[in-house]
Every structure is written in C-alpha cells, then in structure tokens.
C-alpha cells in the first residue's frame, strides 16, 4: 500500500477571507477521529432500548414487565405509569401540541414508544424488549389524510379535551381570495392538478440518540445529543423536566447528518434523561435504523389541489388547497405564527396578479413529524407545487416551459418585490440565471435530440424548475419557535497574540462551519482563517441562538459573525487611533490593519492592536482592556436565494425505469464565502432530490403498517443513480445581509424534485399522454402512468 509524504495539493488556495479553502474539520474525519454520539463512553454508563408498538392504533390493556425485569443485567423497565409520577408521561411538541413520551392509554402509530428498558449493555437491553408482555386491543387506523375528517373516522386524539374529530389545525389562509377569483375569471387558460408531496424522511446516516448524565449531588445534567438546536433544546428540557436551565449542559459533538431530522425532541431523549435522573448513572440510548425511519420526524406529506391560470401567455393566478398530514401528534417544525410554515411562498418566482392558499391539517395514525427535510419550513412543498403547475400550464398552452417562465418572471427592477401572499423578495435577476442554465445544458440541442429520439421510439425528457426560497428565519417581530425569537448570537475574542476564538449558536452537521465561519472573521479582520477557532455545539461555551436548519446558518449566524467582527474592528480602530496618536476618523481600513489616511505606511495591524488591548499601555478614554465583542443578530428579513435547474432523463419504454442522465443546477445564493463548500452543499441536496423524486418514500398499508422501515425499503440513491452534476452560478448579493450572502444548503433539495418529475412527464407526454405523476417515480409507478392510470402514492 502506498503512503506518500506531502503530496502536492491540487490547488493551494489559502485565502484570507472568502474563497476556496479546504476544510479544517476534515483532519479528524479522514482519520476516523470524529466524535459522534456512539463514540462517547462514560464510566458506569448503562444502555437504553425502546419497546415500540406493532400496531398503528390500539388500546393498551396491560403491560407486564416482570419477565424483562428478571433478566440478569436489566436495571429498570420504565412505562408510562412510572413517567406519570415524574410528570413526564407527556411532552410538548414544537407546534404546541402534546406527545406521549411512553404510551399509556393507547398507541397511535406503529413504532410508538411503549416502554424503556435500561440494562448493562445494549444486547441485553434488546433481549429484554422481547420479554415485555403488552396486551393490545387493536382499533381501526386512519391512514389516508383525505379520509381523516370523514364522520366515521375513528378519533385518534381522544386524549385532548374537546377534540371530537381528527382536525389538527383549522384552515389557515394567505393571499387574496377575491382577487384570485377575479384573476381566474379574466384568464384564458386554467390547469388543475391534484398533487401529492409524499411522506419522506431525512434519514441522516447517523441515527438519533442521547447520553444523559445526571449528577444527583450537584444537580447538574450533562446531555450528549447530536441535535440542530442545542440552546432551544436546553430551554425545553428545563421547562419539561422542571430542571434549572443553568444546570443543563448540552454538547452535540460531531453530528452524522441532520437534514431536519435532528431538530425535534424525541421521546427517547426524555426517557434517557428520566432514566439518568432515576438511576443516577449515565444512560445511553441510540435508536436503530428502523426506529429512525418509523418514529422520528418525517417530512412533507402534503396533499394538494392546485389551479393555475394564465392570460395572453403569462401566468396570472394560483389557487391552492392543502391537507397537511401531521401524523398522530402535531410536531411540525415551523415558526409559531406560520402553521403551514412558509408554504405561502408558493407564488414562486413569478409576477402574479393574485394567489390564494388554504391549508388545513389532520391527524392520522402515522408517526409524528413534519420536519423540514433540508427545507425551510414547507418551501419544498411550495416550490414543487408551483414548478409542477407552471410546467403543466406550459404543456396546456403548448409553449416551451422555459418560455412561459421567462415571460412570467419577476423582473430585476421590481426588487424588492412584494408577493401577493406577503413576502418581500430581496434581490434577483431570474432570467439571467435561467439563461446560464440553458447554456450549460445546451437546451436547444437537448430539444433537438429529444425530437430525434422520439422519432425512434426512445423516451427522453427535459425538465425545468426555477425556485425562489426564503431562508434565514427570521426577524424577531415575525418569527419565533415556542416563544424563542429566531435570532443567533456570536461572541468573538481576539487574544493578545492576535489569534481569535469565535463562538456561535449554530451547530454544524457537516456544513463546514469551522471553516467558513473562520473565513468570515478572516475576511472582516484580515487575519488568517487558521488563526480563528470556531466554537459551537456546547451550550456552556456558546451564545444563545436557535440553531442550524432552514438554511439559516449563513443568513443569521453568518451575519452575526460578520457583525461581531466589525464591532471588534471598530473597537480596534479606537485603540489604533490612540496607538497612532491620531483621531479614529483619520484612519482607513485595509484587510488586517488600520492606517493613517494619507500616510499608509503609518498603521497598526490587528496583531499590534491586540497586544496593545491587553497590555498595560494607555487605551482610549473610558475603554476597558481586551479585544472582544458579542452580538445577537436579528435579521431584518429572510434572504431569497434562487436557482434554475434542468434535468435530463431517459425512460425505458418497456420497463419504465428512469435514469437521470444529466442534472444542471445554477444557483444564485448571493456572495459565496467558500465556493467549494457551497458546491458540496448543492451536490448533496441534488442527490437527496433525486432520491425523493425517484425512490424515497414512507408509505403505509391500510392497517397503518409502515412499509419502508429499513434501508432495504427506504431507498437512498447510491453513486450509481447520481449523475455527474453540472453546476453554474450567478451572484446577486443580498442587500440586507452584511456579507451579501444568502442561504444555500436546502436549495438543491427544494429545486431538484420538480425538475426531475417535469422531465419524466416531458418524456411521456407526447407518446403516452401523461400529464401528471406523483413521486416517487419508481419503475412501477411510471409504468402505471404510461398505461394511462397514474396512481397516488400509498
């Protein structure tokens, strides 16, 4: 085996500031030295395992734990009764619902938590699960969201006082209904589609879990838990468990992917905490893959009916009616005032006359969730809907789908642009981005190739999607989760030697914060990024903030780091003025130093200034020593990244297998801090989009049995299903973000499914008359559509 020393790098970039910079965090990961949850071993630690319901809906008659307790090595078996004495049988969800930690009265979805075993090792804990005897009385299950409100539907949430049906939340509306009616009345073309965004799952490669370590002497609770919002979790634990918030410390360690799945608090976490409080030793609980897929936060599950209209070849109106399937407990992740998340961004990238959106939510006997799988609060569903509808409308009118988009785009001079549903888009030049994508794709040539292939009976499709996202939640006057404003903190300390530590409230799950956030400080202070340590993922060592999801790290936390760096720079200016015996206003900044205007040789570097700040020498009047600052950043608006995506697919005319041959993604996310990291984010989201479009689905049979409870049936694309992605970019800075940056992490997941589905339909429309197909486009489902009977997913 070859080992080589000091191999030359392909590209030796060492930017002080923005640019391609290889990641700092790689050093540990490529050596197998990451510190993930299951890598942590504490003295005296015991192991938890959860018994789960085999039924989707059943009354619990009895639970007998005696055989399990008799198994050597089993320390405890916890049931709802035990939790009731601690006041922990139920817990709040992030949407102001309650969820059973362990089911006591009845189980409401297959895989629901029924009992928690604590044992000396995980093999014994799992042995004990087989020895717990639970008697169930099965009840009819509600599986189909469209039937959840039928008068004879069994009541799922009989635990809720006053709940008489399966309505989870009343109808929520956005837009202007009358104006929309007028737009439709004036229109010359209308298309209608029933569109389902099926239930899917973020399925990060590392499953969810926790080690809870409660010290009864000190009352300190140390939590090791890979989650996307450690500060918010700490506050919730304080509220739920009645613990003092300052005695709780959450450390995330390295996180093996999140994608929204690690935003919520799960019953297993509460069990681990309760277990450690009761047992007085650290309790480790980590779910297996089936538990992850069957019980933790799913995504989407939106049943939609949409109408779109046009007049004189331009899109004018949109009407949408949605049933949201929340499962058995409403734990959808979204800001309080937005019960349908940001779904009403469904007007997309188009200058519409009017739009109207209605969303109501129902309970079903399925796992709870509604997390944003690499998505900013239902924008994925919205973009999928509008981009499917625009292509459907183009098909109806008989115009090229790009042409219709070009005619209907919001024009550059219209920004900032108020949408008819209440969003203020910050900046954009959509047509330019669309043209870049067409150039990379060779769009006209693709259409020629398609025509030739059609003549030979081959099926090739070209699909287009143009998305606008709103990311970086959000302004505190509009957005909170459980009453916590969606702001983020940053704390920057420049040490006497000029080396810096920046602490942030966002937490990486692979996005490269340790590198890019150091680059922001480097850009603003002009010190090398290797001299900046990024600290995160530890509530004791980072400022308060709401975490990493909804593409909010760069828009909110990144802005916080820029602002705190500028505060330090401003402070450095005052110190430099004293050092240089001049007035602050007579100093000018260049990367890394303040100098005297008109005498550039005379200046002070950040290093010099840091030394002075901590020294015994004079500082400006009234200034304390040190070179630190902290901020909490409240974004004035969301940022609105956008992109043009083109998918090229081939469909086997006989077997109906779909192959994504090419995928072109042109993203405009404003200023790019580290283009390498941005591209990596896009690659990953595109693979997820291919998965969602072609294979990833959580489906159920009529009894509510989950049919995709392992990676044998929850299919995730491998390297063989992903093409060699072709990326492009345009850069339209965000006007209100201090760096001009917008979020990007979720864009590819948002934009790619409609491009692929549009491509599949494009391949089949002329030859087979296909006008719609729901995801996932598996061979069987595509074949059914080719036979003239597209079927909704189960």
């Amino acid at each position: 085996m070859a080992t080589v020393e000091n191999l030359p790098s392909a590209t030796e970039e060492r930017p002080i500031g923005f640019g391609r910079l290889k990641r700092k965090e790689d050093a540990r990961f490529i050596r197998g030295q990451g510190n993930y949850l299951d890598d942590i071993r504490l003295p005296g630690m015991v192991h938890g395992a959860i018994l789960r319901s085999p039924f989707a809906h059943a009354r619990i008659i009895s639970i007998d734990t005696s055989r399990a307790l008799a198994l050597p090595g089993v320390a405890a078996v916890v049931t709802a009764k035990d939790l009731e004495t601690l006041g922990l049988a139920w817990m709040p969800t992030i949407s102001y619902d309650t969820q059973a930690v362990l089911a006591g009265d009845k189980v409401r979805f297959q895989g629901q938590e029924v009992a928690f075993v604590i044992a000396t090792d995980e093999y014994i804990a799992r042995d004990a699960l087989q020895l717990i005897d639970v008697e169930y009385e099965p009840l009819p299950a509600v599986v189909n969201a469209r039937r959840a409100l039928d008068p004879d539907a069994p009541l799922i949430r009989d635990d809720k006082t006053g709940q008489t049906d399966n309505l989870a939340s009343a109808t929520w509306e956005a837009g202007d209904e009358d104006a929309t009616d007028r737009a439709f009345a004036e229109a010359d073309t209308v298309v209608t589609r029933d569109i389902i965004y099926p239930r899917c799952h973020p399925a990060p490669l590392e499953t969810c879990g926790m080690i809870a370590d409660f010290d009864p002497q000190s009352g300190q609770l140390n939590i090791y838990n890979g989650n996307q919002a450690p500060h918010a979790h700490r506050t919730v634990y304080a509220q739920v468990a009645g613990l003092a918030e300052h005695m709780i410390r959450i450390q995330t360690g390295d996180i093996g992917g999140g994608f929204g799945n690690k935003v919520p608090i799960y019953p297993g976490y509460v069990c681990a905490i309760a277990g450690s409080i009761v047992a007085g030793v650290p309790v480790k609980w980590i779910e297996d893959r089936s538990e992850n897929l069957m019980s933790t936060g799913f995504a989407r599950d939106y049943v939609m009916r949409a109408e779109m209209c046009s007049k004189d070849g331009k899109i004018t109106g949109l009407r949408v009616d949605v049933i949201a399937d929340h499962g058995a407990f409403d734990s959808t992740a979204q800001p309080t005032k937005f019960p349908a998340g940001f779904f009403h961004i469904v007007c997309g990238s188009y200058d519409l006359q009017a739009a109207h959106v209605k969303v109501k939510a129902v309970y079903t006997n399925k796992a709870p969730g509604g997390v944003a799988y690499r998505c900013s609060f239902r924008i994925t569903e919205a973009v999928y809907l509008v981009e499917r509808m625009v292509s459907a409308l183009a098909m109806e009118i008989g115009v090229d789908p790009i042409e219709l988009r070009m005619r209907s785009f919001i024009a550059p001079e219209q920004f900032p642009y108020e949408t008819t549903t209440g969003w203020t888009y910050d900046s954009g030049n959509y047509a330019e981005t669309m043209r870049v994508a067409m150039d990379i794709a060779g769009y006209d040539e693709l259409r020629r190739e398609q025509a030739e292939k059609r003549a030979r009976g081959e099926l090739m499709g070209v699909g287009v999607a143009f998305f606008t996202e709103g990311v970086g939640a959000g302004p505190r006057k509009h957005m909170d989760i459980l009453g916590l404003a969606m702001n983020d903190g940053a704390d920057l300390r420049v040490h006497p030697s000029g080396k810096a530590v920046v602490s942030i409230s966002a937490q990486t799950q692979g996005q490269g914060h340790e590198t890019t956030f150091a680059q922001i400080v480097a850009e603003e202070l002009g010190i090398p990024p290797e001299d900046v340590q990024v600290r995160h993922g530890d509530t004791d060592r980072s400022p308060y903030g709401l975490g990493t999801y909804g593409s909010r790290s760069t828009p909110v936390s990144g802005a916080a780091v820029a602002v705190v760096s500028r505060k330090v720079r401003d402070r450095a200016r005052l110190i430099a003025a004293t050092m240089l015996e001049t007035r602050p206003e007579d100093l000018a900044w260049e990367k890394g130093r303040w100098y005297v205007k008109g005498d550039p040789e005379k200046g002070a570097s950040i290093d010099d200034i840091a030394v002075r700040a901590y020294s015994g020498e004079a500082l400006p009047d009234g200034m304390e020593g040190g070179l630190d600052a902290q901020v909490i950043y409240d974004p004035p608006n969301l940022t609105y990244p956008y992109g043009a995506y083109i998918a090229v697919v081939d469909v086997d005319p006989e077997t109906a297998e779909v192959k994504v041959r090419r995928f072109i993604a042109v993203d405009d996310c404003g200023v790019r801090i580290n283009p390498m990291v941005v591209d990596g984010q896009i690659h990953g989201g595109l693979a997820e989009g291919i998965g969602i479009a072609l294979m990833e689905v959580i489906s159920f049979d009529e009894e509510g049995n989950c049919l995709n409870g392992s990676f044998m049936d929850y299919l995730i694309p491998t390297a063989l299903e992903c093409p060699d992605f072709e990326l492009g970019e345009t850069v339209t800075p965000c006007p209100h973000h201090p760096l001009g940056a917008k979020g990007v992490g979720e864009s590819p997941n948002v934009g790619s499914p409609p491009a692929i589905v549009n491509a599949v339909i494009d391949a089949l429309h002329e030859s087979h008359g296909v006008t719609h197909i729901d995801m996932p486009c598996t061979p069987a489902r595509v074949w059914a559509a080719m036979q003239g009977r597209p079927e909704p997913p189960q």
């Binding site: 093999y123 799992r126 297996d288 893959r289 089936s290 006989e654 294979m695 995709n708 694309p717 069987a780």
Partner: protein, 291 residues
C-alpha cells in the same frame, strides 16, 4: 443497533465435521457462510437459531472448475469470485450479468452461491440463473451424497431439499455445445432485490434451439421455472417473435404478489419483457454476436 439473540457457535474444520455438527445439533442449528441473509434476520430476531455452524474455513468448498462435461462450483464460492471468473465468463456469461446486479460489491465479497441457493428466496437471482442452466446440486449428509435438480431442490418459499444434518456442497452446470445465456433484472435502485428478473439459456444446434432454460426471480412464491416457454422454444429457430411469444408465456405463468416493488400487472409485464430480452441476448451470445 439491532443485535442478534444469543446462540452457540462452532467453526467447522472439514465438510465431514460440519455434517457431524449439523447432525448432532439438529433442527436448531443453522449453517453460516457469508451471513448476509442470516445475520440481518437474526438481528431482527426473525431467525433465532440456537447454534451456528460456521463453514467459512472449508476452502475445499470454494472453487469453479471444469470437469468433463460440467462446470462445478463449490458451495462456498463467493459472489465476487463468480463475477470475476474467466471460466464462467466464457462458459456462462449469465453469471456475470447476474453478479453485477446482486446486492453491492461489498456484500458480494462475503455472500456465497450456496448461501444464496439455500436461502431459497424467490427474489434472489442465482436460483433463476442455476435453474435456467439446468443445474444440479450436490447435497451431502452422513450417509453420502445425493444429486438433485433444481426443480426438486426448491420445496417452497425459503425451504429446500437440504435436510437437517445435510450440507449443500456443489453446484454442477452441464456443458453442452452452442450455449448462450443472459440475465436481465429490473430493480428499484442498484443493490435492491429484483422487481422481476429473468434468466435465459439457449443451446443452438445448426441454427435451431436444441434446448432452452428460462426461469424468473421475484414473481412467484419460489423461483419460477418456465417449462412451457422452454417447450415452445425447443426445435425452433431463434428470433424476436419467438422470444416475444416466450415472454408472453412468462407473463402468464408467473405468480407475482403485489408489494412495494410493484403491482401484479407490472410484474407480469416485466416478466415478459425481461424474458424476451434475456432470450435475445442469450441467442446473440450463442451466435457469437455479443460477448
């Protein structure tokens, strides 16, 4: 993660030793080779054997060789060895077709042909391959060997003619002139089990089909051996229409169940398409028009 229940373990050092252990331990013992079917079942606690007899040290069961008018494959031969075998590529390229789409390359480093056949999962590819090639298998017990054809080997879903105390030791593939073979599979994603798969073998003599073997995976309770299609093909000249007709029989004679991979009508449709395609490629290979 999921963990197996407790069991006793012993490692066989000879074929006779393995058979002795299986005799001694009876119905609660299972043979473990690659383990890639058995261990996941044990982790799910759907399989709870009391004893495992590990045969991985029995290198004498790992071979691919030509002997007389047969190719003989030891039961412990791993998928990767079947994939990379020049002898099989020359004699029965159907193996390479199938092995490229069985599970994934890492799993193929461990899984064995004997394990695949003994699992008797109707969705598994090699059972159809061996059925199409008219394979016979050697089952050894305390009282010696018996040789059975595949039709007699499969008794039902997940059930074979290998009794307690017996071991599958070898697969024998008859060599006849004019052979061509191919395997066609539709899967939802690389590495997935088949939605449907078809194995076809043709033996041509003077431009006509002297004999044919056709079998299907994943479209019945067990591997579907298409005897009616084979009868149709025998004595005829290979051709697209004939193969389409054989495909029609495949659609009719399979017995798929609906599941997450597709409904019954789609699976019947695929059985037909894949049979037709496999026969076409098998013929091309027999006629040296395709590698």
């Amino acid at each position: 993660m999921q963990t197996p229940a407790s069991f006793e373990y012993e490692r066989a050092t000879s074929v006779d030793g393995a058979i002795e252990a299986l005799q001694r331990l009876g119905s609660e013992a299972r043979v473990i080779a690659g383990g890639h079917s058995l261990i996941p079942m044990m982790k799910l606690r759907l399989a709870n054997p009391e004893h495992l007899v590990d045969i991985n040290d029995l290198r004498e069961l790992s071979y691919i060789r030509e002997e007389g008018y047969e190719v003989r494959i030891g039961a412990l031969t791993r998928h990767v060895e079947l994939l990379e075998s020049d002898l099989l590529a020359l004699r029965f390229p159907i193996f390479r077709d199938a092995e490229q789409v069985i599970a994934d390359p890492v799993v193929r480093n461990r899984g064995t042909i004997g394990g695949s056949l003994c699992q008797a999962d109707a969705a598994e590819d090699l059972s159809a391959v061996c059925s199409a090639l008219k394979a016979q298998v050697v089952i050894r017990g305390r009282d010696g060997e018996r040789v059975v054809g595949l039709d007699d080997f499969y008794i039902g879903p997940f059930t074979t003619a290998v009794s307690d105390g017996e071991l599958l030791t070898e697969i024998r593939l008859p060599l006849r002139p004019g052979a061509g073979s191919a395997h066609e599979k539709v899967e939802r994603r690389a590495g997935d089990w088949a939605v449907a798969a078809a194995s076809a073998a043709l033996w041509l003599e003077n431009g006509t089909i002297a004999d044919a073997g056709v079998a299907l995976s994943a479209v019945g309770p067990v591997t579907v051996h298409l005897k009616r299609a084979e009868e149709l093909l025998r004595g005829k000249a290979p051709g697209e229409e004939l193969f389409a007709e054989a495909g029609q029989i495949a659609s009719e004679d399979c017995a798929p169940l609906p599941d997450g991979r597709g409904p019954v009508d789609y699976k019947r449709h695929l059985a037909g398409v894949l049979t037709k395609r496999a026969l076409g490629r098998a013929a091309a290979r027999a006629q040296h028009r395709e590698a």
